[in-house]
């Protein structure tokens, strides 16, 4: 019987590049930018790293295959480098590898890097690519906005929600994230936006408008992890430890079982959340989770994720959102750093960037974004794929004595 990850692994240091249109940077340069910060934060020499993980979503469009680019860019000391990919959940997947290596005793100190350089594709949004030889014959070559927009129609129909109310709730999500991103010097988008602008923006994939969709960014983020004992031995006092790390994957039920899933939620998120809360010893998430960073690729995703994480009742998230419950000064701030929407979404880096903000907030280092009530447990939710078939990974980090 697995005993869980709670308090077995501590974060020694983290780094995050500025996200945005980094025209003058390659993926390599971005990884170095994030790594330098993390190493300074951890107070380490590169020879102390025993193993590394690299998460990239679209390696064919930027960095290329295998873990070698990480080893070469950072001149790692011929340690093992594992390349991982799970669509947009690749960042947390990378973190998972490093954390498990430390928890198993296979490594004392491990590095988890995530990077994406998407601004060489020549157009905005995720690059169009094959999803496999069989899928290409039988599946829809849609866009990410189109794939996720479908939740809105299903959610509205499931709960009988007026289309105008749903559109306004979605808009509130983006307005809130823009207000938060404005306080973040590393964010891709830093301008606040108002409800009218969001509501009247051009339609991308009905009912998602321009401001309901995150763009893509260049960026890298990384974490260096070790055991709490080694961290204290290196002089760290306030430790942020991993309280839970759970991942769930669709198995075709949503996609192929008629009359089953009704399209209005993410089943793997519900499953992973349940497991993560149990692993972390959380039984009242609305009271115990101080902050969330969720996968707000689209405003509707964030909306239903509040329900999937049990932070709102089914069919009620739209009300709670309009009520301000998830604003920076609300009961459970969501995307206090601007989220995917404004901080940006370099696919492989995003899961680690979520952890980065949670880590800073827990240590009181978030500056103008610092949550007024000191946080104790912070959750990150990182999703890859699309509503009908996805990988949902949830990490909960907290102060070691929380």
């Amino acid at each position: 019987m697995a005993r869980g990850i709670k308090d077995k692994v501590a974060i020694l240091g983290m780094g995050c590049s500025r996200f945005g249109e980094r025209w003058d940077m390659d993926a390599d340069n971005l990884m170095v930018e994030a790594f330098d910060e993390a190493m300074a934060d951890a107070g380490l020499d590169v020879t102390q790293i025993d193993a590394a993980w690299l998460g990239v979503g679209f390696d064919a469009q930027n960095i290329g295959p295998s873990g070698l680019p990480l080893s070469i860019a950072l001149r790692l000391p011929n340690i093992g480098v594992t390349k991982v990919e799970n669509y947009c959940a690749s960042g947390t997947e990378s973190f998972r590898g490093a954390v498990y290596a430390v928890a198993s005793g296979a490594a004392d100190i491990a590095l988890a890097m995530g990077v994406e350089k998407l601004k060489d594709t020549g157009y905005g949004g995720l690059p169009v690519r094959s999803r496999g030889t069989t899928y290409d014959m039988l599946g829809v070559t849609g866009s990410a906005p189109g794939n996720f927009a479908q939740i809105a129609s299903a959610y509205g129909a499931a709960y009988g929600i007026d289309k105008g109310d749903l559109k306004r709730a979605m808009a509130h999500v983006s307005v809130k994230s823009h207000a938060n991103g404005a306080k973040n010097p590393k964010a891709h988008l830093r301008k606040p936006v108002d409800m009218d602008t969001v509501l009247n923006a051009p339609m991308i994939a009905e009912p998602l408008g321009l401001f309901d969709c995150c763009g893509v960014s260049d960026g890298a983020a990384c974490a260096i992890v070790t055991t709490p004992d080694i961290a204290r031995g290196l002089g760290k006092r306030d430790l942020v430890t991993v309280k839970a790390l759970q991942i769930a994957a669709s198995n075709g039920y949503e996609l192929q079982y008629a009359g089953g899933w009704n399209g209005s939620s993410f089943l793997p998120t519900r499953i992973a959340a349940k497991r993560a809360y149990a692993e972390a010893g959380v039984d009242r998430p609305r009271q115990q989770i101080s902050l969330t960073e969720v996968h707000d690729c689209f405003s509707i995703t964030e909306l239903v994720t509040m329900e999937d994480l049990s932070l709102s009742d089914n069919g009620q998230a739209w009300r709670d959102i309009l009520n301000g419950d998830f604003d920076a000064d609300g009961r459970t701030p969501c995307q206090i750093d601007g989220g995917l929407k404004c901080f940006g979404h370099p696919i492989g880096a995003s899961g680690l960037r979520m952890l980065y903000e949670n880590y800073l907030q827990l240590l009181g280092r978030a500056g103008p974004r610092q949550r007024s009530t000191p946080p104790s447990l912070a959750l990150s939710h990182n999703l890859g794929g699309m509503p009908s078939q996805n990988v949902s990974s949830i990490a909960i980090v907290g102060l070691s004595n929380a």
């Binding site: 594709t121 866009s143 809105a152 192929q256």
Partner: protein, 484 residues
Amino acid sequence: MDEVGILSFGAYAPRKRLSRTAIYEANKWFASGLKGLAKGERAIGDWDEDSITMAVEAGRDALRGFDRSAIGSLSLASTTLPFADRLNSGIVKEALNLPDAVAASDAAGSQRAGLASLVQALQAAPQKSAPHLCLAADMRRTRVASELELLCGDAAAGVLVGRGKVVARVLGSFSITTDFLDHYRSARMEFDYGYEPRWVRDEGYLGIGGRTLSEGLVAMGVKAASINRLIVAIAVRGVAEALAKKAGIAAEAVADTLQLKIGEAGAAHPLLMLVAALEAAKPGDKILVLAFGQGAELLLLEVTDAIGSLPARNGVVGSLNGGFSDKNYMRWLAHRKLLDLETGMRAELDQKQPSTTLWRHRKGVLGLVGGRCTKTGTVQFPKSDISVNPNERALGTQEEYPLAEIPARIVSFTADSLTYSLAPPCYYGMIDFQGGGRMTAEFADIFDGETVEVGDAMRMVFRIKAVDEARGLPKYFWKAAPAR
């Protein structure tokens, strides 16, 4: 009574009907003389339709109520077959989910190919032990500001021929073959080349056509006055009436050429008009069909008492009722690649189709055949080794289960303006089939301003999914269209 003849029929015209006035208005700066032809509407296929997809729809219509596993052969006649070498009727066979042990052939080369293939099928029927599905379809490629652009329409028709409770029997047929170069399209050409319309009418339609009628009636031993319906599949005004008069056939017998609502559908047109005639026929009616093309083909049929007993179908009546009035000429030109549209970088996705994966999955891809678990009854698409049933993930228990004819409903959807599509916004979403089975599908036939909602009824249609432009290959699959 068990005799040989026509067992069933069907037809399909695409929903969009392009205003001929819109065509004329766009081109009148150059071709003001075409005003006389600028009346009514012509059927135009959407970007994702071609002669194969239209033939499939006509075939489905003609096979309503018939056991597909009992079909013995099929043919597809067209002057616009997508493939010069890849059995076009073979793709139709997969889409109709007919048994592998069928014969299939393509007929091309002339505007009379549709009727000729029907005549040949009827002549061969007494020797055959299983019915033959005779299909014809055309989507003629026409130059901007040409007469043909205004005269033509895209459509398909199907006639099931064999032994059984026939709705029409053959009384006779007659053929004349002469190399009359009224128009031609060689393998070196993209468009037809036609000669002087006055000469074509006088020497061709009236000359050769008239001769075929008069010699044919004599050869068949039939009196002109006994003909109840004369089908002359020629759109040019006045030709059918003149032929009838010359042959001694009553003026009231001349069938409407469907010019104002559909247009002349090439090799399919004689069969399309025949379907329209059969839809309105009474037992005992004698229907005479004339098709012109390097000579002419003649077929005489007599409608039987069984004509009223066929299950309801789309046919020509349904095709006429289902139309969507369209004035967007430019969009049609772009769809037919007569306009070089800036399709953007998202259109650059390599659409290579490995033959190996298509072969392995041909039933699912071309036939929309899924799987049904024999243990739990769970239906799914595609068929898989392990059932998707969450309570019983049995291994290797699925039998083939065709889904194309099963109604479905929308579970979720979107209208996507970002993804590359030649019919933006691209509608797609999740649908559930009646009795089980679920898939995410692209939606078709949703035009300007039309919308759908969760719960709407849908039916599956066979369309082009994407085109591998680099390697010249249209890739076919099924889409969901609003059930109207």
